[in-house]
Symmetry: C2
Subunit: 194 residues, 2 copies
């Protein structure tokens, strides 16, 4: 396939994802009808579903997009930085979009296939977090009395709390010192006496 065509396909895919994210954020998963997706992306349903099998696939592609972006931040700065970025209200993950992620909880709970597809996409974040922690441990920056798997699950659980908190529109201006505490919890303590 000639390069220009691939570029075109990639750009079209990006156009669909960007429009769909806004649409899902504004109307929720159920409310993002095909007609609204057409309006938000500026493309016909034919064009949209040429790139994505169905609405579910489109939504899951956005979840994967999130996981990839977050995994990039994790690799450089760790998962707590992802949470700090969420608190700062980065445009990629406004509260409306986080809320839409929550709204699919029933589907995730009751539809094993959907859950498996979601988990597959989210896994990249877990892997990136685990790798980062392993590197930090090698560098001597991590506490060594708690396993990396436990620390990974701890950080992911706090991230889920942050997502839920923001999605519910709760005040977040008091969470910075909480994230400092979360970060410190994973670190090696300087006295070395514990």
């Amino acid at each position: 396939m000639p390069r220009v065509s691939q570029d075109h396909l990639d750009a079209r895919r990006r156009q669909i994802l960007d429009g769909a994210r806004v649409c899902f954020a504004r109307h929720g998963y159920e409310g993002a009808t095909v007609r609204r997706l057409e309006e938000a992306t500026g493309l016909s349903r034919g064009a949209i579903f040429h790139h994505f099998r169905d609405k579910e696939s489109l939504f899951l592609a956005l979840a994967e997009d999130d996981a990839v972006r977050m995994a990039d931040v994790v690799a450089e700065q760790g998962l707590v930085q992802v949470m700090r970025d969420l608190l700062a209200g980065g445009s990629a993950h406004p509260a409306d979009w986080l809320g839409t992620r929550l709204e699919v909880s029933r589907r995730l709970r009751t539809d094993p296939d959907f859950r498996a597809r979601w988990a597959e996409r989210s896994q990249q974040l877990t892997i990136a977090t685990r790798q980062r922690l392993l590197r930090q441990r090698e560098a001597g920056n991590l506490r060594d009395d708690v396993g990396v798997d436990v620390l990974t699950a701890f950080l992911e659980l706090v991230l889920e709390g942050v997502v839920s908190h923001l999605a519910m529109g709760l005040p977040a201006d008091d969470l910075e010192p909480v994230l400092d505490l979360v970060e410190e919890t994973a670190r090696r303590h300087r006295t070395g006496t514990r």
Copy 2:
């Protein structure tokens, strides 16, 4: 008002709340129609809305119910025990019900009045957590390098993560050691050198 009548009213109120909880859990907030609430409670809409102004008030009464039950556990055993109870799958808060709590996130985010009513009801949990931590600090069981407000917000954030995790039907069998870590994070460390 004679005592027997108050008992009767209380029992009726309890009957409505118990049925409504099952109905909201099964069908979600939107799906819990008046007809389904009638079926689930075994009472007419007239009887239901004699006790609760509207569906929103009924839902918020259940949220308050949760907060009161959790606050009781917090007073005796702390907020981490509330999380352990959730993990253990106590019948009062099955994943379906937790999911319904998440489903109202859009409403919480976009309807300031609903958010204020929800916050008022949840506040009892925050107060109970704060009081428990203050008692623990006085008893010398709490770390003293982090404020009680930060520790309260930390524990509540982790609770939000647990609720979200369970509501999404994610595997929770690896979370016990994470909660051990959370509990330890709030405690005074034995060496006393930090």
